[in-house]
Symmetry: C2
Subunit: 114 residues, 2 copies
Amino acid sequence: MRLEGGAPVYEQLERRITELILSGEMTEGEKLPAVREIARQLSINPNTVQRTYANLEALGLIYSIPSKGSYVAMKKDYIDKVRAKTSEEFTEAVRNALKLGLSKDDLNEIIKNI
Amino acid sequence: MRLEGGAPVYEQLERRITELILSGEMTEGEKLPAVREIARQLSINPNTVQRTYANLEALGLIYSIPSKGSYVAMKKDYIDKVRAKTSEEFTEAVRNALKLGLSKDDLNEIIKNI
DNA sequence: ACAACTGTACTAATTCAGTTAATACAGTTT
DNA sequence: AAACTGTATTAACTGAATTAGTACAGTTGT
């Protein structure tokens, strides 16, 4: 593979599949190609695809059932996960800013002016 | 060297010196040991120390004058830099959260509850 | 003027974490 | 039982981060 600039293969593949799902080209519950199937088509190692699937599952975009296959998850679940993760990250940013001397008012002001 | 767990030498040294300055053990304008002097004492490469100094200068904690030496900077300058950097990082976090569907009200709520 | 200092620039060697590959396992399906 | 599935484990590879080696240019004190 190694088409895009520098980015690891499993990441490139992640983006492709993410697009397919978010754009609606693949719908909820639809079965994804088998790990080895994709590996063969793209001439990459099955383990690389496996890693992509694992990451997509962690994101909540797909779910995998051993010995059966991998499927597109419900968009709602994905959106919930993204929101939860984003909230956590934002909370961390706030904690850090407060620790370094910015006040809550400072932060509200920044948000207001965006 | 290689005392602490995993962290690069120049980073460990950075932390040590940062503590010395922030705790007040080294005061504004005081001259730091020469690059080679520290290197000798810790049995590390002068370039590693050089890198530490360069980073500390980027942080605004010290300033270096070629052929003369490196000195502890004014705390005010450092604090200003830290604040500016923190604001930028926080701004980025806000932008990201907004992009992912959180509202400004959501963010204000999070700040309030910390 | 010169020896002994300073910080810095540049290149090369080394190290190490991230990525990919090879192989094997365990369950499902037909 | 053969041909599929996802997954775990270990090893090989690669490239970027880290460290080392060396040289340069300016300042200071003798």
